[in-house]
């Protein structure tokens, strides 16, 4: 598995297809996270921005190998299921890394006080809250990405439309783990609590596992 992850990471880095989603994430942070903004608000925004980026990264990793090369890799890996799992893990790891960097930057830039600037917010707690929310959004986004690309959804046009629409819906629909985690941060910014979104994290992990199972399962049936 290590060799497969190394291969897909090298493929992602060397192809430079990682650049557009990273630029998108950077741009969203640059627009939404200002120096001295209330910290938990900014962390909520940064986590939300990670969701479409994670989905996009999954789509990139799942489509970067040409057909025949994918067959070669799948055979060498001992089956397409392992190969596809490596694709998903690589993309999730990239999103996680990006989210960690974004969260730390946000903590450094933000004003660690409540929205009305009356109470201080402890930095370690804020960092933990931000990282948890980022993890929830990365997992939810990766699940969305897995469902919106090969082998689950194959047409390019449909894939992009479903991905964008899905990202929007996951951020605004009540009950979505991503929305729950982001809302918790924003209300925490008013009350001064640093929320630990463990329940949304468990939900996001479950959703991501189910999406990965479907994606890997179909990878040996859509050749």
């Amino acid at each position: 598995m290590t060799a497969l992850l190394g291969y897909h990471t090298a493929l992602l880095l060397r192809s430079q297809r990682w650049l557009p989603p990273v630029v998108l994430y950077g741009a969203l942070l640059a627009v939404g996270v200002g120096m001295g903004d209330p910290l938990l608000d900014s962390l909520g925004y940064a986590a939300a921005a990670l969701l479409p980026v994670a989905a996009w990264l999954v789509r990139i990793c799942a489509t970067q190998e040409p057909y025949a090369a994918r067959h070669v890799t799948a055979t060498a890996a001992g089956g397409p299921v392992r190969a596809q799992l490596a694709v998903l893990v690589t993309a999730l790891a990239a999103a996680g890394l990006l989210g960690a960097v974004g969260t730390v930057l946000t903590v450094l830039l933000g004003d660690a006080r409540t929205t009305d600037r009356t109470a201080a917010i402890p930095l370690p707690g804020a960092l933990a809250s931000g990282l948890l929310a980022a993890a929830v959004c990365a997992l939810t986004g990766a699940a969305l990405g897995a469902l919106c690309t090969w082998p689950v959804l194959t047409g390019r046009g449909w894939s992009l439309a479903a991905l964008s629409l899905g990202a929007l819906l996951l951020l605004v629909t009540a009950g979505s783990p991503a929305r729950t985690a982001v809302s918790a941060l924003i209300s925490g910014s008013r009350t001064g609590d640093t929320p630990l979104s463990l329940l949304p994290l468990a939900a996001a992990a479950a959703v991501a596992t189910a999406a990965a199972a479907l994606s890997c399962g179909l990878s040996s049936r859509r050749t």
Partner: protein
């Protein structure tokens, strides 16, 4: 355990027509298995099932030998150098980085592509890219090697090198399953031959093993009159006549040449197996 097909069927979509139906096939160790059939008959589907890339819609496939696969056309659209790609693939096959690199060098040399090892894949010609695909499979020393028209696009020397590599793998106890449009490919070495006909896999009676005899006579010498049945011959530029004859008739052909009117020199006699030099 060798890969074995039990009543395997494959169709695309829930109600699609069957491409393959009730196929049984045992890929035992040390065998060279050829699959024929017209274009679009499902040969590639069968090979993908055997390689484990594809899952049957019906029946089951048992056994998980270490497998390598060579597609018909290998796309060079990957951001690696040839050695870089081969090292990654070798590691995925379970080799150490060092072993993968050494074997990559060995196989590229054998296919006359050693000079291209440090070139980006995207700059390689189609033929050289195909050599990379073949090297990727051979460096893994797989127990099951699946070749989907892997010879297509290779130059003559590389085809011979692949013939040799395949016979070596089979002699070493591996199974090689292949499709090739040239019916004479590895003719003398094939253990079992099948044809995809309709949705089934039917065994094909094998042509008898043949022997090649290279002989030479002074220019203008006529061929002996009484050549054995099914003997074929061609004259190469140096004047050497290459005979190909069923093994059962090789002695008869030699007798005919040695007792003929002209003075025939026999250069070599060898079974027509791996290569046809």
């Amino acid at each position: 355990m060798p890969r074995t097909f039990h009543q395997v069927g494959r169709r695309y979509g829930l109600r699609g027509p069957w491409v393959l139906h009730a196929v049984g096939l045992a890929l035992s160790a040390g065998t060279l298995v050829r699959v024929g059939g017209v274009n679009g008959s499902g040969k590639s589907t069968l090979l993908r099932l055997a390689a484990g890339i594809d899952t049957p819609s019906a029946g089951r496939i048992e056994g998980r030998p270490r497998t390598a696969y060579v597609p018909e056309r290998f796309p060079p659209a990957l951001p690696f150098t040839a050695y870089g790609y081969l090292t990654h693939l070798g590691r995925i096959h379970g080799l150490s980085r060092r072993t993968a690199r050494l074997r990559a060098e060995h196989w590229l040399d054998r296919f006359g592509a050693g000079a291209y090892g440090d070139m980006p894949l995207s700059e390689l010609s189609k033929g050289t890219a195909q050599k990379i695909a073949v090297a990727q499979a051979l460096l893994a020393e797989p127990e099951l090697l699946v070749l989907d028209e892997a010879w297509t696009g290779l130059d003559a020397e590389a085809r011979d090198a692949l013939d040799d590599a395949v016979t070596e793998r089979v002699a070493g106890g591996a199974t090689v399953l292949f499709v090739d449009h040239d019916p004479g490919r590895l003719a003398g070495a094939v253990t079992a031959a099948y044809e995809v006909s309709g949705t089934s896999l039917v065994p094909v009676a094998q042509s008898a093993p043949r022997v090649r005899i290279d002989a030479q006579a002074p220019p203008g010498t006529k061929l002996p009159d009484a050549l054995p049945p099914e003997a074929t011959h061609e004259t190469d530029p140096s004047g050497t006549v290459r005979f190909s004859v069923p093994a059962a008739h090789s002695d008869a052909l030699l007798r005919a040449l040695l007792t003929a009117a002209g003075t025939w020199h026999i250069h070599r006699v060898h079974p027509l197996a791996a290569r046809e030099r």
